[in-house]
Amino acid sequence: MTDERLAARLKDALRSGDASAAETAARKALEAQADPLDLIRNVLVPTLTEVGKQFQEFEIFLPELMAAGDAAKAATVILEQAIAAAGKASSSLGTVVLGTVQNDVHDIGKNIVSTLLSSHGFRVVDIGRDVAPSAFLEAARREKAEIVAMSALMTTTRPAAQSTIRLFEEVEARDDFKIIVGGGSIDAAWAKAIGADGYAPDAASAVDLCRRLVGR
C-alpha cells in the first residue's frame, strides 16, 4: 500500500505540473517501500485522467496539461526503473506509433493525444508531422507497436490516411497493427470508409479507444 501522504504529494506535483517535485515525490514513495506499479495505476493514471477531464471541460488549458504530462513522464521514468530493477514486467499498456499524415503540418491535436496516452500508461512513439506512409510502417515494425494512430486536420490531407492504410495492406502488415485515426477533418464515417480500426473525436476518447483496442 502506498502511504497516503506521499501519494498526495505526488498528486499535487502532477496537478501543478512540477516535474522536479513529481520526481522527488516518486523517489520518496519508493524509499517508503511503495509499490511502483501501484503508484502508476492508482496515483498517476487517475490524477492524469482527472487533469485530462479538466482540460476537456476547458477548466485548464494546454500549458497546464503539458506541464502535468511532463511531470507524469518524469515520475514514470523513476517508477519504471524501479519496476525493471525488481525484474518485473513494464507497466506499459502497449506501444502507440503516432503522427500526422503526409503533408499535414498541424500537430497540436496530435501532441495533446500524445500527452494523454503517455500519462495513461501507453508507450508513445511520436514520429512527428507530415509523415509519409512508409515512415508509419517502418516505425510500427521497428517499435513493435500495437497501435498506429494518425491525425489529419485538413480535408485536403486526409486522403493520406487512406494511402497509409493501403500501404499496410499491400505489404500484408495490416493485421499486425490496429490503425486508428482522428483530427479535425476526419469523422467516424470517413474512418470506416477507409478501413480504420477506430476513430476518436478528441484526445480523451483516443485514450479510451486505445485501451479498448489493447483490451485494458
Binding site: L62, M66, I108, T155, P159
Partner: protein, 466 residues
C-alpha cells in the same frame, strides 16, 4: 529601413538558435504567462467589448514583447528567427494602411480602421477555406459573389478532383488548383463583377499548388490574394515563405492567415490575445502582408463566437487599431449551421465586435468548418448589414448588443444545430435563398432592429456615403 525582409528572414532561419519545437512551445507558454501577469491583462466574461484604451495599449506592448523575446520558429530549419523590438516596430510602421483589392469598377479600397471608426467595413464572403463539394462549390461561390454587399470573394476547400480524392503534392493538386481558381474567376464573371478580389485558392495545400492558381485570364491575378499561413503559434516554414517570395515578385496581395488556438499554447483568453497581436506583427514583417485574417479559434470547438473568442477579437483588434496602421479582417467561425437563426446570432455578435473595434469583416465558417457545403451568400449579406448598422457605435453599446446576441445561442454552443447544407437552403437553379433561410434572416434582423440596430436599412446610408 528595409522594404523586403525575406532575404534576412531566410538568413536568420539558417543561423538563428537551434531549438527543438517542443522546447520552443514550452518557452512560449512561459513567456506568454509572464507577459500576461506583467501587463495586468484580465479577461472579463461580462465585458466582451472593453472600452479600456489602457488595456488595448498594454496588450499591444505585450504582443511586441512576445515577438521580440521569442522571435518566430522556422519548422524547416528548426531554428528561431530572432527579431529586435526596433525591427518589429519599424516593419509595422512601414506596413500598408490601405490596399486596393480587385480591379476596375469592382475594386475596393480596404483601409486601416480605428476603434469606433466611421470607415465602413469591407465585406469578405465565405467560404473561409471550409469544405465544399466539387459539385456545389461553383454555385456557392456565385451565391456569394452576386451579393451586392459582398466586396471580396472567399474560397472553399474542395477535397476531390473529377471525383477522386486530391493527393497533395501530386500533379492532381496542380490540376485541381487551376480548375478551382478558374471556377472562382467564372463565379465573379457570372455575377457581373469580373474584377472582384478573390482572396485565396483554398484547394491547394502546397506552395506549388498555390502558385498553380495564378493565371491572369482564367485564374487568380495580382489584384487577387493568396493566404500565407502561420502555424500555431508564431511558426512558419519554407513552404509558406516561398509563397511570399513568389507573390511579392508578382505584386500580388499576400494575406496573413493566423489561427491562434484559444486554450492552446497561449493559455486562456488573455494569453491568446497576446499571441494574436504578436502574430499580426510577424505577418507584417515576415510576410509583407497586405491584410491580416484574425482567425483565432477555440482549441476544442474551432469557433470564436464564444465569450473568450469575442473578447480576444475585441481587445486584439483595438490593440492593433490604436497602435499600428495594419489592415485587419475578422474571421468568424461559428458553431451552428446554415438555415438556423443561431448561426445569424453568432454572425451578428462577431460582426458587431469587428465593426466597432477596428476590423473589416470575413465570414463565415459555419459548423466550425466541419460540415461540407455550409456556406451561402445570405449569411455574408447579413454580416455586412449588421456591420454597417453597427458603424460608429460605442464600445459600451456594442458590449450590450453582443451580450444580447449571446443570450440567443450561447447555451447551444456545445451541441449546436447544424442546420442544412447549401443545396437545401438555396435553390441551386435560380441561386436564390429558399424561404425558410430568408425567414431566419428577417427574424434575426428584425430582432436586432428592436435593439436599435437598423440591420435592414443602415447599409443604404453607408453605401451612399461611399
Amino acid at each position: 529601413m528595409r522594404s523586403n525582409w525575406l532575404p534576412e528572414i531566410v538568413q536568420r532561419s539558417e543561423t538563428g538558435p537551434f531549438v527543438q519545437e517542443p522546447e520552443f512551445d514550452r518557452l512560449l507558454t512561459q513567456t506568454v504567462r509572464a507577459l500576461v501577469r506583467e501587463h495586468g491583462l484580465k479577461f472579463d466574461p461580462q465585458d466582451l467589448v472593453p472600452s479600456d484604451d489602457g488595456l488595448a495599449d498594454r496588450l499591444y506592448r505585450a504582443g511586441v514583447e512576445l515577438l521580440a523575446q521569442m522571435g518566430a520558429y522556422n519548422q524547416s530549419t528548426e531554428r528561431r528567427i530572432l527579431l529586435s523590438r526596433a525591427e518589429i516596430e519599424e516593419a509595422v510602421a512601414a506596413a500598408p494602411s490601405a490596399v486596393v483589392l480587385g480591379e476596375g469598377k469592382d475594386a475596393v479600397v480596404e483601409r486601416h480602421r480605428g476603434v469606433e471608426s466611421e470607415i465602413p467595413c469591407v465585406m469578405h464572403s465565405g467560404p473561409t477555406g471550409t469544405p465544399c463539394s466539387e459539385m456545389l462549390h461553383p454555385f456557392i461561390l456565385q451565391s456569394c459573389a452576386q451579393e451586392p454587399l459582398v466586396d471580396c470573394l472567399g474560397h472553399g476547400s474542395v477535397p476531390s478532383y473529377l471525383g477522386e480524392a486530391i493527393v497533395a503534392g501530386s500533379p492532381q493538386e496542380i490540376l485541381a488548383a487551376r480548375h478551382q481558381a478558374s471556377l472562382a474567376r467564372e463565379a465573379v464573371r457570372r455575377a457581373g463583377r469580373p474584377g472582384m478580389h478573390i482572396e485565396d485558392n483554398a484547394v491547394s495545400l502546397t506552395c506549388a499548388g498555390k502558385m498553380a492558381s495564378l493565371d491572369p485570364e482564367a485564374g487568380l491575378r495580382p489584384s487577387d490574394g493568396l493566404l500565407v499561413a502561420q502555424i500555431p503559434e508564431l511558426k512558419t516554414n519554407y513552404d509558406q515563405l516561398s509563397r511570399v517570395a513568389h507573390l511579392r515578385s508578382l505584386g500580388m496581395h499576400i494575406v496573413n492567415l493566423i489561427t491562434p488556438l484559444v486554450g492552446g499554447l497561449g493559455g486562456g483568453a488573455e494569453g491568446t490575445a497576446v499571441v494574436t497581436v504578436a502574430s499580426h506583427l510577424l505577418g507584417a514583417l515576415a510576410y509583407s502582408a497586405s491584410y491580416h485574417f484574425m482567425g483565432h479559434m477555440h482549441l476544442l470547438r474551432s469557433i470564436n463566437t464564444d465569450r473568450m473568442g469575442l473578447w480576444i477579437q475585441a481587445v486584439s483588434a483595438q490593440a492593433l487599431a490604436r497602435n499600428t496602421p495594419l489592415v485587419v479582417v475578422n474571421d468568424i467561425y461559428a458553431a451552428s449551421g446554415l438555415g438556423t437563426t443561431d448561426l445569424l446570432w453568432e454572425v451578428a455578435a462577431g460582426a458587431i465586435v469587428g465593426a466597432v473595434c477596428g476590423t473589416h469583416q470575413h465570414g463565415t465558417g459555419a459548423t466550425a468548418g466541419r460540415e461540407t457545403d455550409h456556406t451561402s451568400g445570405l449569411e455574408a449579406r447579413f454580416q455586412a448589414q449588421v456591420a454597417h448598422a453597427a458603424l460608429g457605435r460605442s464600445r459600451r453599446e456594442a458590449n450590450g448588443l453582443v451580450l444580447e446576441c449571446l443570450r440567443h445561442y450561447e447555451e447551444h454552443l456545445a451541441t449546436p444545430n447544424l442546420g442544412r447544407p447549401f443545396s437545401e437552403v438555396y435553390d441551386v437553379e435560380t441561386l436564390e435563398p429558399r424561404p425558410w433561410w430568408l425567414e431566419a434572416f428577417h427574424e434575426v434582423g428584425g430582432a436586432l432592429d428592436g435593439h436599435e440596430l437598423d440591420v435592414h436599412h443602415a447599409w443604404r446610408r453607408v453605401r451612399h456615403d461611399r
